[in-house]
């Protein structure tokens, strides 16, 4: 049998197939096709592996495959868009665990004389996989609300994590060189604890960064296990996943003006002094100008020609997506131009807000990313912000030394009038008071957006 076909040609062709599928993810029109091509390539790869490794006759393999398929289908079948982040986090954890388990399964029978590269990658896959598993599990539990989403902090945390990391690197080398079971078990335990501590200290709005990062790690673990156990396809495809996760991690970090290390170490979170400062400042402004009155809202909307909607995660928490869609429909029926301005970190994962709105039927052509829409605020008559705070806080550009200073924001304040439908005037996740609320052209409607937004729609349609 010509060995080069399964060894070289097949992995290369299938990888190209996966790449073409990803290329089709450029547009919503072709993305369905891209996803299906990916699934087809995966099916071919698995069939080929069944044939090549001669596991057709193993009932255990089929049972495990069936169980896994049922598990995946159950998880994915009914999940709502608001729960998408926890599903992705959970699957990140599955990926990490699978890579670690595969290595653990093969290690007892390892040839001690095996090449150094194979051992190093095996131990690295074991480490990264275990870390991804425990970290993702915590992230998923936090997102699901089974664990408090606020960051866990204690004295000496940084030192502890740094020492654990250093110890991990030493153990990695020791385990690679000595190939002792004890060292391997120690590094698994260490990686699990590290992932746990790392994820526990990360809070709600930092989730987009953390999920992207764990997504990347799950790919890296798969790639390492592929290199270690001689599967070029796993090495290549794992690398694709690793790269995608890294791209998204960087985008999310940029959108928050933070670096990965700062997010993972919980650094630059609100210090009590900056919060007080912002509070004082806000208090001072309140005295000067009386904010506009809510009774003007129907008039404002009636006179408006261009309306921009700014959704935040608060909208999803209030389950107000449908209410927002209804308001958009009412405005459009009255001949207004309505667009939605989406900040990259408005949800709990990259692209989350787009999915939440698509779920209730908001057309994708109405969703605009920050970079494309920001110059339009100045020509907008009315902005309706629902459950958004930090992503439109002018303090990000005006104040120095706050957690959001330098973060790119939606320039909502430039619009002629702004209606804010948030739960209360408390600051967002960053803890920085929103100076927007004190501007004279801003009308605030505090309360549950699932009630305040329909109320606006009702009063507007009555007027029209």
């Amino acid at each position: 049998m010509m060995a080069w076909i399964p060894d070289f040609l097949l992995p290369a062709l299938l990888t190209l197939g996966f790449l073409l599928g990803l290329r089709w993810m450029r547009s919503p029109r072709t993305a369905v096709r891209g996803n299906r091509l990916g699934a087809l390539c995966m099916a071919l790869a698995v069939t080929q592996a069944f044939w090549r490794y001669g596991v057709f006759a193993l009932p255990g393999a089929w049972t495990a495959l069936g169980l896994g398929a049922a598990l995946g289908w159950l998880l994915a079948h009914r999940v709502k868009s608001i729960r998408m982040p926890q599903l992705v986090a959970l699957l990140n954890g599955f990926g990490g665990a699978a890579s670690a388990l595969v290595i653990a399964a093969r290690i007892p029978a390892r040839d001690p004389g095996a090449a150094g590269l194979a051992w190093l990658t095996a131990v690295a896959a074991l480490t990264v996989g275990s870390l991804t598993f425990s970290g993702s599990l915590i992230a998923a539990l936090k997102l699901q609300g089974y664990l408090a989403s606020r960051p866990l902090r204690f004295a000496g945390q940084n030192q502890l994590l740094l020492s654990l990391g250093a110890l991990g690197l030493i153990l990695l080398l020791v385990a690679t060189v000595t190939q002792q079971t004890g060292a391997l078990l120690a590094i698994i335990a260490l990686a699990l604890i590290y992932g746990l501590l790392m994820a526990l200290r990360v809070g709600g709005a930092d989730m987009p960064v953390v999920i992207s990062f764990l997504n990347s790690l799950s790919g890296i673990a798969a790639a390492l296990s592929g290199i270690a156990l001689g599967s070029p396809l796993a090495a290549g495809v794992g690398t694709l996943v690793g790269v995608a996760g890294m791209i998204l991690t960087r985008l999310m970090c940029r959108a928050m003006n933070r670096n990965l290390a700062a997010v993972l170490s919980g650094f630059a979170m609100p210090e009590s002094e900056t919060e007080d400062e912002a509070g004082d400042e806000a208090g001072a402004v309140t005295g000067e100008s009386a904010p506009a009155d809510a009774s003007q809202i129907p008039d404002l909307l009636q006179d408006a020609r261009r309306v921009l909607i700014v959704p935040g995660y608060g909208m999803a928490l209030a389950q107000a997506q449908q209410a927002v869609k209804d308001l958009m429909d009412a405005l459009e029926a009255a001949g207004k131009e309505v667009k939605v301005a989406v900040h990259p970190v408005a949800g709990r994962m990259p692209g989350h807000m787009h999915v939440l709105l698509a779920e209730v039927g908001v057309g994708v052509e109405k969703l605009y990313d920050m970079a494309k829409i920001n110059h339009e605020f100045a020509e907008t008559d009315v902005v309706v912000a629902v459950g958004a705070c930090d992503v439109m806080n002018p303090a990000a550009t005006t104040a120095k030394g706050t957690p959001i200073s330098g973060m790119p924001i939606l320039r909502v304040a430039e619009a002629r009038a702004v209606i804010v439908c948030n739960l209360d005037e408390k600051p967002g996740y960053s803890g920085v008071a929103n100076t927007l609320y004190q501007e004279p052209h801003v009308i605030t409607c505090w309360g549950d957006a699932a009630q305040t937004v329909p109320e606006i729609t009702r009063r507007f349609t009555q007027r029209v």
């Binding site: 450029r26 156990l229 994962m349």
Partner: protein, 96 residues
Amino acid sequence: MPAAVLLVFVLACAVLGYRVIAAVPPLLHTPLMSGMNALSGITLLVALSALSHEEPGSLLALAAVVLATGNVVGGFWVTERMLRMFHQRGKQEAEE
């Protein structure tokens, strides 16, 4: 595959992958991530190869098969559901 060839292959994947994936718009970032969940199930291949060896670790390999298959099926299916949501809306709007 010899180590050097494998290394080149992985690097090529990283470079090509970067170019292709960086072009995915924010609109599709959530489906991209769930699709990546499916692709990280590629470990299934490695798990199947581990199963072919009669050894004490085969229970672990079976567990890996379960989880990796969960990734593949769950990842592709949820991505399909999400993308249909985008696509159908797009079509409806165009027809209206």
